[in-house]
């Protein structure tokens, strides 16, 4: 069997096992939180009768293990079930949210990944001179400021004072692509600022590491221009660590943007998950948790595989 295929199969099997463990962890986690979904729905205005009626209707009186097995059985048949709180089909409402989350992550990635790599290359080219220092200073500053603060600052100056972009990024199906892009301009900018530094610094460090090698010196002696050396010789040899950090940041763009979603009122999955955690709506929390875990595990797997394929020594083990 092809070793690369075997590797992928192995990783996939491990990933699925990991997802199963994650689902148990999430279930146990939501069970041990105080209060239950009936209490959360009815809030302070709950009467004992209304609570008992709601618990009965939602099937909360069954033992926890039974509820978990029911859920797992449904999942294996592709049924995510219905939300306890509003009775809506989870797959349907989650589908729209997931689409929105991926939409935002996609455009943030389209802007930030090429920009980060380009800035990284630029920093190497002008190493220890003012462009390098400027790029490092700006990106490090933007990663050090909490993202909600960057969000508020951009919202105030660009949204309220200049009026260039909307401050509320609620997209819906009635919008054209152009309108949607205009609506998400501010959150995309904030996300770009947040993930830029990490990727840029890693690109810079990885390439600088390679630049010490003898073959770079040879290339220099051949008379190649600095940029061509970086692009043709240094970059391909430092691709593995760069892909790793890019994948980590992509995963962050999907699973870690709940604060940005709240600040800009973006209807993505993070907000959806938080609402349902606070209501103890276990089936929804399970479904969101699984998707987030799958994205994280999947992207990490891609990073692993790419770095192995990019390295001939790992590709052809003795």
């Amino acid at each position: 069997m092809n070793p690369a295929l075997k590797l992928v199969a192995q990783r996939l099997a491990l990933g699925i096992l990991l997802l199963f463990l994650v689902s148990i962890l999430i279930f146990v986690g939501t069970i041990i939180l105080p209060g239950d979904v009936a209490q959360s729905i009815l809030g302070q205005s709950a009467t004992p009768e209304a609570l008992a009626n709601l618990r009965e209707e939602l099937g909360l009186n069954e033992p926890a293990l039974q509820r978990y097995l029911n859920w797992l059985g449904g999942l294996l048949q592709g049924d995510l079930g219905t939300a306890l709180t509003n009775g809506q089909d989870i797959a349907a409402s989650l589908g729209g949210r997931l689409k929105n989350t991926l939409f935002l992550a996609f455009w943030a990635a389209i802007v930030s990944v090429p920009l980060a790599i380009f800035l990284g290359l630029l920093a190497v080219r002008y190493r220890e001179r003012w462009p390098d220092k400027l790029i490092s200073a700006v990106t490090l500053a933007s990663i050090s400021i909490p993202e909600f603060l960057i969000g508020y600052v951009l919202m105030y100056f660009i949204g309220v004072k200049l009026g260039w972009a909307p401050t509320v990024a609620t997209i819906h199906d009635g919008m054209s692509l152009g309108q949607k892009l205009n609506t998400i301009a501010l959150p995309v900018s904030v996300l770009t600022l947040v993930v830029l530094a990490h990727m840029m610094r890693m690109t810079r460090a990885a390439i600088l590491n390679v630049m010490q090698s003898a073959y770079i010196e040879t290339a220099e002696l051949k008379g190649l221009s600095m940029f061509l050396i970086i692009w043709k010789h240094a970059f391909p040899n430092s691709i593995a660590p760069i892909v790793n950090v890019v994948m980590l940041n992509l995963a962050y763009l999907v699973v870690g943007v709940v604060v940005i979603e709240v600040v800009f009122t973006y209807p993505g999955m993070g907000q959806y998950l938080v609402d349902h955690v606070s209501k103890r709506d276990i089936p929804v929390v399970q479904a969101c948790g699984l998707i987030f875990a799958a994205v994280y595990i999947g992207l990490n797997m891609v990073a692993d595989i790419v770095s192995i394929l990019a390295n001939p020594r790992l590709r052809h083990p003795k």
């Binding site: 209490q39 809030g43 302070q44 004992p48 209304a50 509003n86 909307p166 509320v168 600040v263």
Partner: protein, 526 residues
């Protein structure tokens, strides 16, 4: 003032000239921007409601787990959404009293036990089905049945029998209740075809708007219902966007992305009101923040301990520092001037000497333990710290225990002997007292049991003479003020805001956002 300006302002007010170009032309005629704006506001009012356009509302309080079933309505977003498509039998009128909605009139038997509501004829639901008394009865039954999960169950309990006779809907009560029509203004009790038994979340009702698009916790779009029985509603489209983050909601209002918002944070309300084109409205209501002690539990069963705590509360400081002035001082009863038949009692003031006297007399010297959390009311931990300070000046030791938000309502409130909490209030005194201060009430969160109080409460319910009833409520207030476990430092105002894109704000309407009817009653100015 010359005629050209008058003409321009009228055109601007009716939307035929944009506000910006009006201000420009007024400036050219030598008018300052402030004067021009004032003039425009006057003209808008004089021009009257404009039809058409889209009103955009930024509202906080909704989540993606919300249901469309009015029985489960528990936050302002759900309340506003269901008021757009549905209507109750009777509603609170702006400025006090009741307004007839789906009931044309009502009457009661002389003993206030049997109530007859004449259902409005010629009204249709948005699915075309005509409204009948059977629909009303089915709705009331859905909210009062044995297996209901309705938030209105508590107020439906006293009903013995209901029947529909032609277009009359008759309610028979177990015991007399002069307040029944007020209870039916409850925001859960919106009339649905066949009581909503077929599909409680269908959002089909008789309201002035029809729900067109739903994303729970995100966005709701309504279109005007051209067949509404009294033609209410000015804008042709209403768009509700849920914006729970305070800063984002205020930014959306300032940048003009929404026309109106609820819950302006008191901390920043002063700043927001200085933004040109933004109007901030504050309305005192029945909502109050409370420190509640179980008076059947040691040490709070000792009246001197209670009095020490009550005299050790600096109420004005609470209003100034916790509500930033957007509120009024409380007087250790859950009732204020926003209730009908209210009588002002002598105000209890902060008095460290009296507090010290009662504390010494009680014989206690251990610190009193107060539990609090962020979600018990906004700023509760800060309020607890202020209380600790004002008590320490009287030599009364208070220990504060911070509890997590999660599970506060199920584990701490109504379970632990002394904690912070809030009440959003009720439309009438009887309901507030029966909910939380009657000996047998489920939510008697102060464990207040007083026979004389209970007798007065039941007697007042059956009393149709307003003067006598008012005196009874005053007597009950006095008992609670002196012997209750309730320390009520403040009543919080509802603070809302809208910008110049809409007009028609009615300051006499109660509660938040003109009793949540602002998008129906206001209009777009263009």
């Amino acid at each position: 003032m010359n005629d050209e300006l008058k003409y321009l302002s009228l055109r601007a007010a009716t939307g035929r000239l944009s506000r910006r170009s009006f201000l420009g032309r007024a400036g050219a005629l030598g008018l300052s921007a402030v004067a021009a704006n004032t003039m425009l506001a006057g003209a808008v009012k004089a021009a009257g409601p404009q039809k058409g356009g889209t009103i955009k509302v930024g509202i906080s309080g909704g989540g993606s787990s919300d249901s469309l079933d009015p029985a489960l309505s528990a936050n302002q977003t759900q309340g506003m959404v269901s008021r757009m498509w549905g209507e109750p039998l009777v509603e609170l009128k702006a400025g006090g009293g009741l307004e007839m909605r789906l009931a044309e009139e009502f009457s009661s038997s002389p003993d206030a036990r049997v109530w007859t509501f004449k259902i409005r004829s010629g009204v249709s639901f948005s699915n075309g089905k005509p409204l009948t008394a059977e629909d009303v009865m089915a709705t009331m039954e859905r909210h009062s049945g044995e297996d209901t999960k309705s938030g209105a169950l508590g107020i439906m309990r006293g009903i013995k029998a209901m029947r529909a006779e032609g277009m009359d809907f008759v309610i028979e009560l177990e015991t007399a209740n002069a307040d029944l029509p007020y209870l039916l203004t409850d925001y859960h009790l919106l009339i649905q075809p066949n009581g909503g038994n077929d599909d409680p979340t269908a959002a089909i009702g008789t309201g002035p708007y029809v729900l067109k698009s739903v994303e729970p916790g995100v966005r709701f779009v309504f279109e005007h219902n051209a067949n509404h029985w009294n033609g209410e509603g000015h804008a042709s489209t209403v768009e509700l966007t849920v914006i729970n983050d305070d800063t984002a909601r205020m930014a959306a209002l300032q940048s003009g992305q929404v026309h109106m918002v609820n819950r302006v944070p008191p901390r920043t309300a002063g700043l927001v009101s200085r933004v040109p084109g933004v109007n901030v409205h504050s309305k005192s209501g029945p909502g109050h923040y409370v420190f509640i002690a179980h008076v059947d539990t040691d040490p709070f069963s000792n009246q001197d301990v209670m009095l020490a705590l009550k005299y050790g509360m600096n109420r004005q400081e609470m209003v100034d520092k916790i509500l930033f002035g957007y509120g009024t001082v409380g007087n250790d009863i859950p009732i204020n001037a926003s209730y009908p038949l209210f009588t002002d009692l002598p105000q209890r003031e902060y008095d460290p000497e009296k507090a010290a006297h009662h504390w010494k007399k009680s014989g206690h010297d251990q610190p009193v333990l107060l539990r609090t959390s962020d979600n018990s009311f906004p700023g509760a931990p800060d309020a607890a710290a202020l209380f600790q300070q004002s008590l320490s000046q009287a030599g009364v030791p208070l220990e504060i225990k911070r509890e997590p938000n999660d599970g506060y309502w199920s584990e701490v409130w109504n379970k632990q002997p002394f904690c912070t909490s809030y009440w959003s209030g009720r439309p009438v005194q009887d309901q507030m007292y029966s909910t939380a201060y009657l000996s047998s009430a489920d939510w008697n969160d102060t464990r207040f049991k007083n026979e004389q109080f209970d007798q007065l409460l039941v007697a007042a319910r059956a009393e149709l003479d307003e003067g006598k009833r008012k005196q009874m409520y005053a007597d009950m207030g006095m008992i609670l003020h002196n012997e209750g476990g309730l320390i009520c430092p403040m009543f919080n105002d509802f603070v809302d805001a809208h910008n110049d894109g809409v007009a028609g704000w009615d300051a006499s309407a109660g509660f938040s956002m003109m009793n949540l009817y602002a998008p129906v009653k206001m209009w777009v100015t263009g």
